[in-house]
Amino acid sequence: MNDFERALRYLNDPLNWSRPNGIADLAVEHVTISAVAVLVAMVIALPIGTALGTARRGGGLVVALSNVSRAVPTLALLTLFAVSPIGFGNRATTIALTVFAVPPILTNAYVGFRGVDPELREAARGMGMSRAQVLGRVELPLALPLVTTGIRTAAVQVVATAGLAALVGGGGLGRLINLGFGQQDYGVMIAGAVLVAGLALLTETVLAVLSWAVVPGPHRLPFLQVRTPEEPGGVPEPTASGVPL
């Protein structure tokens, strides 16, 4: 394939990486936007998810939120923020991405904390632990696998979506795709696509390893997990709330 050879040649040229607004700059921009969006979303969603989950309330609200977020096209939200008074550029992109990162983190934190056996909580209270100790030493470790899954889902989603921002004037690696397409230079476009896809896969892998290291108990890498028989079938796993982007 000729276009693929051209993409390879483009990626092999060090100048394309190091020049201003080259691949390195775009990648840094891409990662920065994504990281800020995910961190802000965590600050918003984790406390709410924890509070709702431990109180076992608001399940309908959480489900409705994740369902509605699935129906809203990311492109629409990116565009709407770009034409709002915020103006386009990285700020609008970051805000739009934050909005999309909240539902997966919130849903998974909610499900994780709700799933903690109430008897364990009671036992911990009986042992004389304070409310904060119960939360930090009993509930959090038990909820952590799902909490990290939520963050991973959101992060991969955000990294993937950040590429779309280029269609409406944002920055990041998506620019290469848009630029290559606009100039009918499919080599550049393919190079951009490979870079965006690679970054998403890298994010997934890094966060999977990270959550593997952080979560206590029997260590299992998420991507090696095949559905085990004791898991209740029939119900799609909470990560299914993540949308491919």
Binding site: A71, V83, F88, G163, G192, F223, R227, G233, G234, P236
Partner: protein, 243 residues
């Protein structure tokens, strides 16, 4: 292309913050009913393309996902690669996938369709597999004991039992496909997404953008409602239990 047309404008405006965007210089309402009535025909055409792409993608996805799920259920050794591969596909951004397909399929709507099939397939296989694995083994054994053949067991016992999970998968796949179709604007076949980028390129015309966005959400809601109705009609027994 629409996205290309916007570029010089962007570079002109996205410089240092001057506080005044081209957006603010003329009245630019968020919604304009006259826009909708005057452009009704083109809105309908885009909606038609959107619906066509979604229905085709989910239908083809279902046709491929069901045999795959049946195959993956047979053994863990088949399930692992199927699920692993689907995770990888799921992780690849749609924009990148569409871009990678362009050299093969060009600017036709097939580019969008193939991408959408891939994503709906991933969601459907997982849910189909979960549904099939949720069938209790003793029920399957009882069916065999009653003399049902493998195909009969599948059709008369397993599929009805797995139906709620199937339908859940179909709903998720349909709703996210409706949203994903908009990314097809890259090759000019994004259905209602064309209104979104079209409005952006037409000097940030908000009414057009909002019409496209709201149309997408409405379409997704309608599809979800329709599938819920189908599910209720297909599974009368779940209702009897619930009430």
């Amino acid at each position: 292309m629409t996205s290309l047309g916007a570029r010089p404008l962007l570079d002109a405006v996205s410089g240092p913050a001057t506080g005044l965007l081209a957006v603010d210089e003329a009245p630019n309402p968020w919604f304009d009913s006259s826009y909708v009535t005057e452009n009704w025909d083109s809105i309908l055409a885009y909606t038609g393309e959107h619906v066509r792409l979604t229905v085709l993608a989910v239908a083809i996805g279902t046709a491929i996902a069901l045999p795959l799920a049946l195959l993956a259920r047979r053994s863990r050794y088949l399930a692992a690669p199927v699920l692993g591969l689907s995770t990888v596909v799921y992780t690849i951004p749609s924009l990148a996938l569409f871009a990678l397909l362009v050299p093969f399929t060009g600017l036709s709507s097939n580019t969008v369709l193939i991408g959408l099939v891939a994503y709906s397939l991933v969601i459907l296989v997982r849910n189909f597999l979960a549904g099939l694995q949720g069938v209790p083994p003793d029920v399957r054994e009882a069916a065999r004991g009653m003399g049902l053949s493998g195909a009969q067991t599948l059709w008369r016992v397993e599929l009805p039992l797995a139906l709620p999970s199937f339908m859940a998968g179909l709903r998720i796949a349909t709703v996210s496909t409706v949203a994903l179709t908009t990314v097809g604007v890259l090759v000019g076949h994004g259905g209602l997404g064309q209104l979104i980028t079209g409005g952006f390129a037409a000097n940030f015309y908000r009414a057009e953008i909002v019409t496209g966005a709201v149309g997408c959400v409405l379409l997704a809601l309608l599809a979800d409602l329709a599938l819920t109705a189908v599910e209720r009609a297909l599974t009368p027994w779940t209702r009897a239990v619930r009430t």
